[in-house]
Symmetry: C2
Subunit: 67 residues, 2 copies
Amino acid sequence: MRNRIHELRRQGGWSQADLATRLKVSRQTVNALERGRYDPSLPLAFAIARLFGLTIEEVFQPEEDEA
Amino acid sequence: MRNRIHELRRQGGWSQADLATRLKVSRQTVNALERGRYDPSLPLAFAIARLFGLTIEEVFQPEEDEA
DNA sequence: TGCGTATGTAAAGTATGTTTTACATTGCGG
DNA sequence: CCGCAATGTAAAACATACTTTACATACGCA
């Protein structure tokens, strides 16, 4: 699953730690999401989209062959 | 997290087993999702929304106090 | 040079999502 | 009444998401 977290975070001028605080997750989780190590849970995906004022579909793009 | 899976499935005239097949998950997973036992993974949430021709936001509604 | 901030990563542990097997209950059509 | 389809549920096993602690690297700046 592709995501625009890195791009959106930088537009807001935030560090990974800043974003983690706002999302109430660890900095390592933000780092892992940005680096595509795994996908967020659905509740976390909602929190991320809302924080940036976007829909889930605007932040996350499933790859072609994905579920 | 609230979801409209049960309602949407019935509108399509499908059994839980039918839906499970289309989503490539087990019938128990569909049952658990409909009964609100847990939230789907983000990829599965996308698959569900796409199957019904809706956005994630149209199918899933985070509760007020949720992440 | 040396310090502080930001980022990447790893290992161990906990929590959540999903599958498989199996069984119980309900309701409907014969 | 009987049989069958649909649904609910449980336990064990496994996969994925997330936390904590800890350390490494890179960069800018006093």
